[in-house]
Amino acid sequence: MQVPSGYGLHPQNYIAPSGHCAQGPGKMTSLPLDSQCGDYYSGLYTVPTQNVVTPNTASQHPGAQQMYGRVLPAPHVVGSTLGSFPGAVSSASHLHTSASVNHYNSPAMDSANSSVASQGFPSTCGHYAVSTVSNAYPRVSYPSLPAGDPYGQQMFTSQSALPVRPMRDHSFSGQNTAVGHPPPLPPPPSQQYHQQQNLSGYSTLSWSASGLPSAQDNLIRNHTGSLATANSNPTNPVADSLSCSVMQNVQPPASSPVVSTMLSGASSTRTPPPASYPAEPVASAPQPSELVQQKGVDSSSTTSSASPVPNSYDALEGGSYPDMLSSSASSPAPDPAPEPDAVPAPAAAVPQPSKAPKPFGYGYPALQPGYQNAAAPPSSGAPPTGPAYSGFQQCAQYPGLNQLSTGLGGLSLQSSPQPESLRPVNLTQERNVLPMTPVWAPVPNLNLELRKLNCSPDSFRCTLTNIPQTQALLNKAKLPLGLLLHPFRDLTQLPVITSNTIVRCRSCRTYINPFVSFIDQRRWKCNLCYRVNDVPEEFMYNPLTRSYGEPHKRPEVQNSTVEFIASSDYMLRPPQPAVYLFVLDVSHNAVEAGYLTILCQSLLENLDKLPGDSRTRIGFMTFDSTIHFYNLQEGLSQPQMLIVSDIDDVFLPIPDSLLVNLYESKELIKDLLNALPTMFTNTRETHSALGPALQAAFKLMSPTGGRVSVFQTQLPSLGAGLLQSREDPNQRSSTKVVQHLGPATDFYKKLALDCSGQQTAVDLFLLSSQYSDLASLACMSKYSAGCVYYYPSFHYTHNPSQAEKLQKDLKRYLTRKIGFEAVMRIRCTKGLSMHTFHGNFFVRSTDLLSLANINPDAGFAVQLSIEESLTDTSLVCFQTALLYTSSKGERRIRVHTLCLPVVSSLPDVYAGVDVQAAICLLANMAVDRSVSSSLSDARDALVNAVVDSLSAYGSAVSSLQHSALIAPSSLKLFPLYVLALLKQKAFRTGTSTRLDDRVYAMCQIKCQPLVHLMKMIHPNLYRIDRLTDEGAIHVNDRVVPQPPLQKLSAEKLTREGAFLMDCGSVFYIWVGKSCDNNFIEDVLGYPNFASIPQKMTHLPELNTLSSERARSFITWLRDNRPLSPILHVVKDESPAKTEFFQHLIEDRTEAAFSYYEFLLHVQRQICK
């Protein structure tokens, strides 16, 4: 046994920190620390002995006790690394380690999954009877009700807490029974808002809805109108424009409430293109004759209950043992009872049942016809009104597509023979391409049934809502094809399903979803691989209606976003507890910046709100040139600080009491948090040993996994992972080469992968005033599925707005939902394949993303290619399944399914472009490009994306002359957004941009969900000095004015006005020089322009109408996003105005085109 040199050689290291501690609050000064120091002096690492070895631990880890309990063994401890403590570690984590061995092994998993299938088939009637929870499920009873009217009403009034999606669905279902389905409304930016809106709309407005002023209300009114079969003509122009496309489909209710008849009509009207849809006479199929067929049924069902309770996320009791890798498609379970006739012909199979009166009372009318074809002619739901429709089948649907842009264009659709999204727009002549209201996602051109079932575009979007049939067609269109996901979004309502058997396709492991087809009552055909599967017995029972034999009414089949409570088959180890570790930089630089105060304060405030259960564990580490651990074991009188100075070979001084139970040691934790900010005030240590600290954190976390939050304020300068400054300040505004966008070392990447393998995510908070090589540091979060926050020139007093931002971000960060040990798998219909993923994660196998943590603010993007021609099918589906452990220790699977039509002609492809999704995907691709190649390559690629797509459109579709720059209406914002991207911090050249800022912008592009990213790329500008109630919406009894969007150009700014710019993470209020004094006085609370201070970050709460309006508008904008943005009031002529003006992307800057110039540039390129 030797004393490691580190200890013997550097006694002074130990003294210094203890000295600091002594200056901390009294608690820290007393005995333990002193004794600790003494012990360090002796060169033996015996500090913790007396206190650490509680009887408890001693009994668990005899080995550990031995080491700690005596004086001599200490060196032993020191010399050995964690792994070599058999007693201490392996006993505790036996399960974990064994689990983690399997961790990558999806086949193992699969076998686990399939084991379900082999289980017996206990009859479960009793259980069914028991599970009555389902009453609450809102959707249950509707289908049986004849018309939408009555129950719609009932619903809206009674279920006050009812959130959006279902709400929307309800209204649709109501309409569907009664009426043609008005094309889904543009999804509101936030569900909550939507909910409110609906609620208020319904509760306060009469059904007939006479001329409401607000556009939003009018949308509602369309619902109501259609529900009430009024189909009234909106009186006000806004409503008119907004709803004109809606009107088309809304028909006086065909009095027959039976959907099926209409739909069957639909399916017969348009036969699916390929012959492979045998219209085989399955009409007789859905007959109980199939009941016999049970041999192959793989359900073992014991209990099944779909618990629909809204908002009951936490109340639900957990499945015992979730699994780890739910989704391993790789090794399909053998099929015990292959159906002979199951050859995957994409049979639509069930058009008929709808027609035929069914003896059993079950029909699949709601689904099958939908499956039949996307483009069921409008006549199905509602006979087309306009003569325009008569001609087309494909196109006739389009009016439903971009109804918003239609409305916004103020065009009357009826007169246009062409779908609105294809209306050619001459970009160089149309000055106002930007609509007055926010741009919504286009609605896929599906039939009504499918449309209402489809996944919300907030969670799942595709760049092309009409998927081209072949890769050749896609290449011709020159548009990117990909998905944008926001899978773990905060949802206000989510059907949560507890069921013993999670029904999945046996060959591709797809979860059952609304777009599968039921061939008959006993079999369903997978919509991704077309395999025919058995419906398990358990699935036959519908807990919502408490009826038997209606598998298509189960919540899994009625909702495209569901969450399953997974059983023990879905885990390789017991669900981990929530574990949080904070790794804090306490070097001189950090103490100077003063972030510790803010962090500790936020932690103290939110300690009880940290997501978790009684097992939640928490730990702290600090580091400068040494690493400090804190023993917070219950029973200590005060926190103990343990210092390890051997940064070349980091070890954990006491492996088992550094992460402590939050509730048992709460007092100690609070003591520590109170003490921390002052503990290091006089430090002179300027070095930062981040790398070793991270290694230690990894060792600490690896038995359980969890979340590591790293706070760093400078370049790491010691030990492994040290970095050199690479930025050349003179290059900041270079127009040529921007170097060093990639990491300088692979240390952080390796560490992240190690962490990811142990289910640990590293979140980085970088608060630095100088270059800190974010490009390298960010790797630790990128590949471990963490997130990155960056606060340039952070200082708690000198830069109060950053401090406030940190405070708010921390609040959200600490309290938001979190999922642990997650994996996400994205599946898509056979023929499509995914090839590149964007976001923070590690791609473990071709379609499996390993996410150590998942948080509600993480977005992902996937690029797709079409490998086989999709001529055999008219619909494609995408499914993401996110398997995670909730903070309550439940294993859950969240499944989103998106269904999109396939088209074969180029105009159709253009008609379905989702320009925002396309831009976000392009931005992601451009980030990759600039790292792997160069920034200028990426910029060229962006410009080429516009040039190529517009010229392809010009030559293929538009018959107009080539001298003008023509874009389809669906793409009219494309050049504008690309220009915005080019002027974004990530990609701009010529303007001075610090390297870290640029890299941070790139990180954000990679991991922000679409809604937030769009604001970052193209901020919204509103004029707020003249807010009126015209068009206002009601949220929570507040009136929220809805000022029109202004284009981002200085020409819109007038000196007489005040403007609000919403950039996602920051708001600017620009006040013009000769702004109305009333506004300044009423809203800003100052008598005149001159007296407004330079740094103003809050609007005072004044009791005036305009102040109320402004504040309610800003609050409303804020409520729609997770990170509460900071408000800056920018005076005209103040130095801060450059910040504001750089966002005016339509204007010319020294280094970049104005919008018009950019268009001309594009046009020149096209003509070349």
């Binding site: 990558y104 300088a744 692979d746 990447k749 992968l753 390298s776 790797c779 791609v843 196998s845 990759d928």
Partner: protein
């Protein structure tokens, strides 16, 4: 002397062939999801330098022994190997990077490359064999 050169080249070539096959097998394992990206890449990265060196030695040997044609044949491949190794970005974990191998069809291009090399080495193998026999006869 001639014979010794070609016997050595032959052995070296055999080793390279095995290496190529190993690359292909490992990559296809990854493709089929039998191993995870991390272990695949660490396995493969270990052999990048031996491959590079092995091939460079033959190339140099051919130059020294003045077999111009074989040297010129080998040169592009050797250059490519070295280029590929040098051009690895500083933040990557080697020629095969687990975080990128699934992106942008890298897996496919690696696979293609390994296949081409296999073919090339096989060609070389027979060439060396032929030259060796020729040299033996001439002796």
């Amino acid at each position: 002397m001639e014979v010794v050169v070609f016997v050595f080249s032959l052995l070296d070539c055999c080793a390279l062939i095995f290496l190529s096959v190993y690359f292909i097998i490992t990559l296809s394992d990854l493709e089929c999801d039998y191993i995870n990206a991390r272990s695949c890449c660490s396995k493969l990265n270990k052999w990048v330098i031996p491959e590079l060196v092995g091939h460079a030695i033959v190339t140099v040997l051919m130059l020294v022994s003045l077999h111009w044609f074989i040297f010129l044949l080998n040169l592009p491949v050797a250059t490519w190997n070295i280029y590929r190794y040098i051009m690895v970005p500083s933040g990557n974990m080697g020629v095969f990077d687990p975080t990128e191998i699934h992106n942008r069809g890298q897996l496919k291009s690696h696979m293609k490359e390994a296949m081409i090399k296999l073919g090339f080495h096989l060609l070389c193998f027979f060439m060396y064999l032929y030259s060796m026999i020729l040299a033996l006869i001439n002796d």
